[in-house]
């Protein structure tokens, strides 16, 4: 596994956090909460509460902080923990869904954000992404949105760098196809 690059502030923050500094945890939260929230959204069904999952992911990260090895990149470590939280939530919600049938009047109300072209673009992108197969969508998001290298994406997903590249490439090709079909319609 490669060592971190000098410009990445996260490894230094992790070391301070391991030493017991609350401010370091706050800075880590500020840096990671937003990308992790987006990533968790790609992992779980729309009905699940992403804020709860995000807090759970940070709690798991706190409990596992001993396992971060100084000098290593932080993102694969954090994203792997968040991925596990997301997949567990998805699995347990899937089990619950088999047991319960949600009545129409119990369906969660979906809030629409303030109007704006960027929000609309994002919503369109999220809708297009929703139709993609899980591993490809995840790899695409991690690499193109969150900026992880394919090596790091592979580490998060537990596959090789090449497999991560193939997944993202296939998902991107499918996404282009869908976008084109939608534009033609």
């Amino acid at each position: 596994m490669r060592q971190t690059d000098e410009s990445d502030p996260l490894p230094a923050l992790m070391v301070r956090y391991q030493a017991g500094e609350m401010t370091a945890f706050e800075e880590l939260y500020a840096a990671l909460a937003s990308p992790l929230r987006g990533y968790l959204r790609t992992l779980v069904a729309p009905g699940l509460e992403v804020e709860d999952l995000l807090q759970n992911a940070f709690l798991q990260m706190h409990r596992s902080r001993r396992s971060y090895q100084p000098g290593q990149p932080v993102k694969p470590w954090v994203y792997a923990i968040a991925r596990n939280v997301g997949l567990m939530a998805r699995r347990s919600s899937g089990r619950r869904a088999k047991r319960e049938t949600l009545a129409d009047d119990e369906l969660p109300e979906v809030a629409v954000a303030a109007a704006g072209i960027s929000v609309l673009d994002r919503l369109t992108l999220e809708r297009l992404l929703e139709g993609l197969a899980d591993p490809g969508r995840e790899a695409l998001w991690l690499h193109h949105v969150d900026g992880l290298s394919f090596r790091e994406v592979g580490a998060v997903q537990g596959v090789s760098e090449t497999a991560a590249k193939v997944r993202a490439h296939r998902a991107l090709a499918e996404l282009k196809q869908r976008a084109t079909a939608e534009a033609m319609a």
Binding site: M1, Q18, A19, G20, M22, F25, E26, Y29, A30, A33, S34, R37, E51, Q55, N56, F58, L59, Q60, H62, R63, S64, R65, R66, S67, Y68, Q69, P70, P76, W77, V78, Y79, A80, I81, R83, N84, M88, R91, S92, E109, V110, A111, V112, A113, A114, A115, A155, V156, Q157, G158, V159, S160, A163
Partner: protein, 230 residues
């Protein structure tokens, strides 16, 4: 679908604001922690006592240096060290091993062990099968499992300290590694070299402990899932 609303101030600053419950939970347990040693350093914690056991047995039995004696034990010990390091590495979040890769590692180890068994049989001039293969294989297998128990327990402790996200894979690797440490010591004690005995009696415990490790890891993952759901 609700009507569009202007974003609330709290939603704007949400990205950077630490939720009070999370802050309280973290602050309640913010003692400094010592990062885990590297997987290789931790693997040596297990491998060095095994090396000492092999060394003392070799000295007491004035064993040969070839594949049939200390040389074979050193090879098996090396295999155990590599698998232990792989297991401890795979337990760290973000450095895990996919199921396919783990299977490849196990397959490679199995092939290496079969080659080793063939080598031992060829060098010693023993046949494919000697008398009482099954009885002796069971006896050797039981001893090896008993010798492998301490490294398996200590390794399990080291493994769980990393809070593995998918414990079944590293636990299977650790089970195989512990068995290899046991076999490396037992290799000097057992006088039989026929292929069926070495493959069954000495190779069998590696498979059994790998499966036991995978089952234990799977059970731990399910327990953890239930605890979190509760």
């Amino acid at each position: 679908v609700s009507a569009p609303q202007p974003p609330a101030p709290s939603a704007v600053s949400r990205a950077a604001t630490l939720p009070p419950e999370l802050r309280a939970a973290v602050a309640a347990d913010l003692a400094p922690v010592v990062p885990l040693w590297t997987p290789w350093a931790r693997a040596l914690v297990l491998a060095l006592p095994a090396a000492a056991a092999v060394g003392s047995l070799a000295a007491s039995r004035s064993s040969s240096l070839g594949l049939r004696g200390v040389g074979g034990s050193v090879l098996l010990w090396g295999g155990g060290l590599v698998l232990t390091a792989l297991a401890l590495r795979a337990a760290i979040p973000g450095r895990g091993m996919a199921g396919g890769r783990a299977m490849s590692a196990m397959g490679l180890s199995a092939s290496a062990f079969v080659a080793f068994a063939c080598g031992v049989t060829a060098i010693s001039g023993a046949g494919w099968m000697g008398p009482g293969t099954c009885e002796h294989a069971f006896l050797c297998g039981s001893w090896i499992a008993a010798v492998a128990l301490p490294p398996a327990l200590i390794g399990g402790f080291l493994l769980l300290r990393a809070r593995p996200l998918r414990p079944a894979v590293p636990a299977a690797l650790l089970g195989a590694a512990s068995a290899l440490f046991g076999v490396s010591a037992w290799h000097l004690m057992c006088g039989r070299a026929d292929l069926a005995h070495v493959a069954l009696g000495h190779g069998g415990p590696i498979v059994v402990l790998a499966l036991a490790g995978a089952a234990a890891g799977w059970g731990i993952a399910r327990l953890d899932e239930r605890r979190r759901a509760a």
